[in-house]
């Protein structure tokens, strides 16, 4: 029995490396994407975003503020403008991504006890730079203002400078980032995308090879061979095993190689990783087995899943919380393994979670596997019985 099963497994695995479409999807895609996708984020964080300052005050204090801004790591003060229109044009030209306006009479107003507002304008299309530029300018403004406020408190309350400082900021906060400590953008995006690469290439690959279908037309010379036309359980589980073993190697490759190359934290313990691999790959393989019986052409799965890759990535909620999406979308996301695999992978691999911590996601993928297994077997059975003459599968 095992011999028959392994024969089907080996025959299918061989196909991964001999069928040109399969090689591309099941072998090359997993490697190429893992190195290609993270390349935009090689620098990991955005530093020295080009910005400008419109200095309408032109005093010692405004120059001090410019100096403080120049010292900020997140921004690079490229230009100091005399009027606002120049700054607007520079932002439209793409030379700068934001600018701060130092108002006329800033120093005079501060020295006479009035309140001054510094307006910072960032380019609305670049949300990441908005945060960085805003924080850098706000910190400069706050630092300059702090000196003045401490002096005012000391004079008003008749207290020494140390007490004035304590009164200004009585309980300072200290932020400790538990995971992704450097605020790396690649560390935030790429792990989720890696899981998606595995799922998408696996499903598309299974669809391209026809899942558990018998007499696959594209195997022209071998479509009548024994391994190709084993009984349904052998075909289904034998081929599934080939996909499972192949993709388990990919998970190991990502864990040991890709994570090292891109310097991602690798906190996954062996047992949770194995459990993750089993439930995630089972759910994805069985979903692929279901879908492969629906398509008549080898490339249909690829065409459809390429369109769906962006919605599927966002439905995994790696960036936008699940509770903020419409209910029907949340319900729809329940059919995709990636919706649970991405948070499970992040918990286990990025945060070092154990099986118990990630169980909420692992159990759901387990349920998906069982449902898709039943459906996959049923559809393969029906496909075996049908006499469709169209298509190439």
């Amino acid at each position: 029995m095992i011999k028959r099963l392994l024969k089907v497994t080996f025959s299918e695995w061989k196909l991964f490396f001999t069928d040109p479409a399969a090689v591309l999807l099941l072998v090359i895609a997993g490697f190429i994407y893992a190195f290609y996708y993270p390349t935009p984020y090689l620098k990991q964080v955005v530093t020295e975003a080009p910005v400008g300052i419109v200095d309408l005050d032109k005093t010692a204090m405004s120059r001090q503020l410019i100096q403080m801004s120049r010292a900020a790591q997140q921004i690079d003060v490229k230009y100091v403008f005399d009027d606002i229109h120049q700054a607007k044009l520079s932002m439209a030209d793409g030379n700068i991504y934001g600018y701060m306006i130092i108002p006329n009479n800033m120093e005079r107003d501060i020295r006479t006890g009035q309140k001054v507002t510094l307006n910072v304008f960032t380019h609305g299309a670049y949300v990441m730079l908005h945060g960085n530029i805003g924080t850098a300018f706000a910190t400069s403004g706050l630092t300059l203002g702090a000196e003045t406020k401490i002096k005012r408190i000391a004079l008003d309350k008749q207290v020494p400078a140390k007490s004035a400082m304590a009164m200004r900021d009585p309980f300072p906060i200290q932020i400790q980032t538990l995971y992704n400590r450097t605020g790396s953008y690649s560390n935030y995006v790429v792990p989720s995308v890696l899981v998606l690469i595995l799922q998408q290439s696996l499903i598309i690959g299974i669809c391209t090879l026809g899942g558990a279908r018998a007499h696959r037309k594209f195997r022209k010379k071998k479509q009548e061979s024994a391994a190709e036309n084993e009984s349904l359980p052998y075909r289904y589980f034998g081929r599934s095993l080939a996909y499972f073993l192949h993709y388990a190697c990919f998970i190991a490759f990502y864990h040991f190689v890709v994570y090292n190359v891109f310097d991602f934290p690798r906190r996954g313990e062996p047992l949770p990783m194995i459990v993750f691999a089993v439930v995630f790959l089972s759910a994805s393989i069985n979903l692929g087995m279901v879908l492969s019986q629906v398509f008549l052409r080898r490339e249909t799965g690829m065409q459809i899943f390429l369109f769906l890759s962006i919605p599927i990535l966002f439905l995994s909620n790696f960036s936008w919380p699940r509770y903020l999406i419409p209910d029907w979308m949340a319900a729809l996301s329940a059919i995709l393994p990636s919706s649970y695999a991405v948070p499970a992978w992040i918990s286990i691999e990025q945060m070092g979670a154990g099986i118990q911590d990630a169980s909420v996601f692992l159990v759901k993928m387990g349920v998906q596997s069982v449902i898709y297994l039943g459906l996959g077997l049923l559809l393969s059975f029906l496909r075996d019985k049908s006499k469709l003459k169209t298509g190439d599968m």
């Binding site: 479409a21 999807l25 996708y37 390349t39 935009p40 984020y41 090689l42 620098k43 955005v46 975003a49 080009p50 932002m91 439209a92 309140k115 910072v120 960032t122 299309a125 670049y126 949300v127 990441m128 403004g141 203002g145 003045t148 406020k149 309350k157 007490s163 304590a166 200004r168 900021d169 009585p170 309980f171 300072p172 906060i173 200290q174 932020i175 400790q176 980032t177 538990l178 992704n180 400590r181 605020g183 935030y188 995006v189 690829m302 065409q303 459809i304 390429l306 369109f307 962006i310 790696f318 936008w320 919380p321 903020l324 999406i325 979308m329 918990s347 945060m351 979670a353 911590d357 909420v360």
Partner: protein, 351 residues
């Protein structure tokens, strides 16, 4: 399905995905080692903040840390022992805040709000009547409310049409090759490959362009309205991008000679294009060779035009360069694609 249903439905899907517009109700936790009026006040303010949702009261550090690992909370605050007493003695007790940097966006929003709550209460505690001398107001030009439905929606819609234009061209031009119908198609065009070319390309470009324009207009209602000249510039940019992408798709068919391989190439280039186009992670922060690749993507230039248009009263001049580049790309890809596909047609017509 590929020409109409999938591009429109996935685009509308993505726009509605962000219907909450901005991030709210971020779950956070708290550990109290001091039950005082001041700590209660802080807790009340955190609960009242619409961006935060004080969900978990932990008895110790490990309980809250587990909450983060399980995805139940995004951050937690530790109110230290004798917090109020130490504050009143001017000892400036430090309040540690532990956050999960893995979820970048929610982390950014959560920390911003927690900082704001603490600084508001802190600055009002002893020096309510002495205001901060300098206040900084941060404005996002063209997206004043920080609306993600508009900001990310527009980029994603454009990205989906970028990919769909390539895929549709691949499908239309590889279909006769796949189904061995090249001769039939050329015969239908009266034996003229030029007529077949135009009959295939023109409807393809026009349909994709109109669909994109319609979905873009639908999405843009979440942002400040465009003037007529700005709208025309965006429409021209979109036309040029569709032109370039269809040309690229035809070239992929011409190079590979079959639908499956051409679709794979289209997927490799079009799939992750949004990551390279600079809207989420700026191009200036990418390595040089990646910037070169980003420059070759039509999506990069159209996103540049679209983002310039949301800035308002700066005129159209800054966008001309991007438009010219897109048109140049369109011309190049169509000349290349035309040459290659004509050769394929000739070969298959004879076969």
């Amino acid at each position: 399905m590929i020409l109409l249903v999938l591009p429109v439905s996935t685009s509308i899907f993505m726009v509605h995905f962000f219907s909450a517009e901005s991030i709210q109700r971020i779950p956070i936790g708290i550990i109290h080692y001091d039950y005082s009026k001041l700590s209660e006040r802080l807790e009340y303010s955190l609960s009242a903040n619409p961006v935060l949702d004080l969900k978990l009261h932990c008895s110790d550090f490990s309980e809250c840390e587990r909450g983060i690992r399980r995805g139940e909370i995004q951050a937690f605050i530790v109110i230290p022992y004798q917090f109020e007493k130490r504050v009143l003695r001017y000892e400036t007790p430090v309040v540690p805040i532990y956050s999960n940097g893995q979820y970048y966006l929610t982390n950014m929003f959560a920390l911003k709000e927690i900082r704001s709550v603490f600084s508001t209460i802190g600055s009002n505690l002893f020096t309510r009547h002495i205001k901060e001398p300098i206040k900084t107001e941060i404005h996002s030009v063209g997206n004043s409310t920080g609306n993600y439905q508009g900001y990310l929606g527009l980029g994603l819609v454009t990205s989906i049409f970028h990919m769909s234009s390539i895929l549709i061209a691949v499908y239309v031009f590889s279909f006769p090759l796949r189904d061995r119908k090249t001769k039939e198609y050329i015969d239908a065009a009266g034996g003229s490959r030029m007529i077949l070319w135009f009959a295939s390309v023109v409807p393809l470009i026009l349909i994709s362009w109109f669909l994109m324009l319609a979905v873009y207009t639908y999405t843009h209602r979440f942002l400040a309205p465009l003037t007529l000249s700005e709208f025309i510039m965006v429409a021209a940019g979109q036309f040029a991008m569709v032109l370039a992408c269809t040309g690229a798709g035809i070239s992929f068919v011409g190079i590979t000679g079959n639908m499956r391989m051409a679709t794979s190439v289209a997927g490799v280039i079009g799939g992750p294009a949004f990551a390279f186009a600079g809207q989420t992670f700026p191009i200036i922060a990418m390595p040089f060779f990646v910037r070169c690749f980003a420059f070759l993507l039509p999506l990069t230039h159209l996103l540049k035009i679209q983002s310039q248009m949301i800035l308002g009263d700066v005129g159209l001049i800054p966008s001309w360069d991007s438009l010219v580049i897109l048109l140049g790309m369109g011309l190049f890809w169509h000349l290349l694609g035309g040459r290659l596909i004509f050769m394929r047609w000739k070969k298959w017509n004879h076969d």
